[in-house]
């Protein structure tokens, strides 16, 4: 079977190609659906090829673990609600990081055994030579990054899931974190230098996991998407490094591509929130000093009937949904309302802020779930020019992303964040549960603007009232 190794290599090559083409297709809404299928075929191919690898032991165990892991993840992935998508991505990403760390651990343990029992028997290498310093360094580096991604992602998951609702902050935290990282790196260097004692290996992994935990705990829920994206890139990198050690080209290419793509995606997300990555990781949100501007005026309420009439006879209506709408499960009713408006000849668009929802693009997913076609959805740059010619802007469940203070008040913690320029519309209707402040606890000047009217109530109930009122107009 001399053709077998070549055939397996060819499968890995095809898998790498399919991953890249799949990712490419995923970057356009028209072909995105096909993209994931292509990548999925690549994955199936790579896994099947690995099974055929000559000299592979424990095939039964591998199959058991494979089926268990696949089954559990498939089951949970099918059942999770669209609003909970970001934390599921964090969870699966953490698993990948954990797997990369496990590969590193298995290698290091094997190397340590090999050093004692069979001299020069690097059992993981295809060519059967002892592990070189480079190989050890990559194994250690991949294990470190993977372990940090693993524990960090689990914390991110727990936070978004609401299991950990407080930020964990103490004085001197940064110094302690840095110390933990320095210790982990020191043990890593020791490992690379050839001190493959079990205690050193265990200590190294414990410290790496601890660092991921401590690095993520102080970060607030609003910043979590950026952190998840960063850990996604981390896992990619860890996979690439372990791929180098195993000499597996598919892992090297897929891991590196994800590492680079994830890094860029992280930057794009951070930029959309007007924060630098360093600020997210080491700064603390909401602790900006300086007196916040006090806002004069009063919030002016409006009834659902009046609001519906106002929009029914408008020419252009822009709906600005926020995460609050998704929490209230109002997106289906809102889309029904929008459809009724469209039937009356009103031009309706949905405007989405880059960080609406829990993750950039999350709101698009939630609207898509309700059946809103993506060509009715406009992003910030596109829609901001249209607000002056918009008759009614309906803000539902969004707060900070439409707050004009981001442009006018340098003391505000969100100062400088690009916002949807809703206040420029002729009329603004804000659907809001009560008079309180938003997710970030910041007062919103929009609610006090002369052209703004407040429609109080639960998102879903209000949307239902609007639908009923609209139907009542012609009846």
């Amino acid at each position: 079977m001399s053709w077998l190794p070549g055939a397996i290599k060819a499968c890995y090559f095809l898998a790498a190609l399919l991953f890249i083409l799949g990712l490419k297709r995923m970057s356009s809404p028209r072909s995105a659906r096909g993209g994931i299928v292509w990548a999925g075929v690549g994955m199936a191919l790579a896994v099947a090829a690995t099974f055929a690898l000559p000299g592979l032991a424990h095939r039964g165990l591998i199959l058991v673990a494979l089926l268990l892991g696949t089954g559990a993840a498939w089951w949970s992935g099918r059942r999770v609600a669209m609003t909970a998508m970001p934390q599921m991505v964090a969870l699966y990403n953490g698993m990948g990081g954990g797997a990369a760390a496990a590969i590193g651990a298995a290698e290091l343990v094997a190397f340590s055994g090999a050093a004692v029992t069979l001299l020069g028997g690097g059992r993981f290498t295809a060519d059967g030579v002892a592990p070189g310093a480079m190989q050890l360094a990559l194994a250690v580096l991949g294990a470190l990054i993977g372990a940090v991604s693993f524990s960090g992602s689990l914390v991110a998951f727990a936070k978004l899931q609401g299991w950990l609702d407080r930020r964990f902050v103490f004085p001197g935290q940064r110094v302690v974190n840095l110390l933990v990282l320095a210790l982990a790196v020191a043990l890593g260097v020791l490992l690379v230098a050839g001190t493959l004692a079990p205690g050193v290996i265990a200590g190294f992994f414990a410290l790496a996991l601890l660092f991921g935990l401590m690095m993520t705990l102080p970060i607030g829920g609003a910043d979590m998407p950026v952190v998840i994206s960063l850990y996604n890139a981390f896992t990619g990198l860890a996979v690439a490094f372990e791929g180098f050690v195993l000499g597996n080209e598919a892992m090297i290419i897929a891991g590196t591509v994800v590492g680079a793509a994830g890094t860029l995606l992280t930057q794009l997300m951070a930029r959309a929130m007007n924060r630098s990555l360093g600020n997210v990781l080491f700064g603390s949100f909401g602790t900006a000093t300086g007196a916040a501007q006090t806002i004069g005026g009063a919030q002016k309420p409006i009834e659902a009937n009046d609001a519906a009439v106002m929009m029914a006879y408008a020419e252009r209506v822009v709906i600005v949904p926020g995460y609050g709408m998704a929490v209230a499960q109002a997106q289906h009713k809102v889309w029904e309302f929008a459809r009724l408006l469209i039937e009356r000849g009103v031009k309706v668009k949905f405007a989405i802020h880059p960080v609406a929802g829990r993750m950039p693009g999350h709101m698009n997913v939630l609207l898509a779930e309700a059946g809103v076609p993506y060509d009715l959805i406009a992003d910030m740059d596109e829609i901001n020019a249209e607000f002056p010619s918009t008759d009614v802007a309906l803000v539902i469940g969004a707060n900070d992303v439409v707050n004009p203070l981001a442009k006018t008040d340098p003391a505000s913690p969100i100062y400088g964040m690009p916002i949807l320029d809703v206040a420029a519309a002729k009329n603004v209707i804000v659907v809001k549960r009560g008079k309180g402040t938003g997710f970030a606890g910041i007062e919103n000047a929009l609610f006090y603007a002369d052209n703004a009217r407040m429609l109080y109530g639960d998102g879903q109930a209000v949307a239902a009232e609007l639908v009923a009122a609209l139907k009542g107009i012609d009846a």
């Binding site: 995923m26 970057s27 809404p29 690898l53 089954g71 699966y92 055994g113 896992t235 994830g262 993750m359």
Partner: protein, 101 residues
């Protein structure tokens, strides 16, 4: 293991590929794309299979087993979640006459 410099070239080219693919992506696809790239690093499963397949001591077997379990979770979960998100994206243009006024 790949020859040192060849490995470095592969690393560099793959990094550029990843960067270029994402560079022109609309915001609406950020979440699915993150999820999709999350699926792709599920290839770690292959490495975990190799690690378990070459394990010799009970400890190595245990670590390898956990690795395959986690890797399979990454790959399967990433696929399901991404697929679910992407299947919802549709345009109003084909077969959406009510929007054509």
């Amino acid at each position: 293991m790949l020859d040192g410099f060849l490995a470095l070239y592969v690393f560099m080219l793959a990094a550029f590929t990843g960067y270029e693919i994402i560079a022109r992506v609309p915001v609406i696809l950020h979440t699915p794309l993150m999820s999709g790239s999350n699926f792709i690093h599920g290839i770690v499963l292959v490495g975990a299979m190799i690690a378990l397949g070459h394990a010799q001591t009970p400890l190595e077997i245990g670590i390898g087993f956990v690795g395959v379990l986690l890797g399979a979770g990454n790959a399967a979960g990433g696929y399901v979640v991404t697929e679910r998100m992407l299947e919802m994206f549709k345009s109003s243009r084909p077969g959406g006459p009510e929007q054509r006024r």
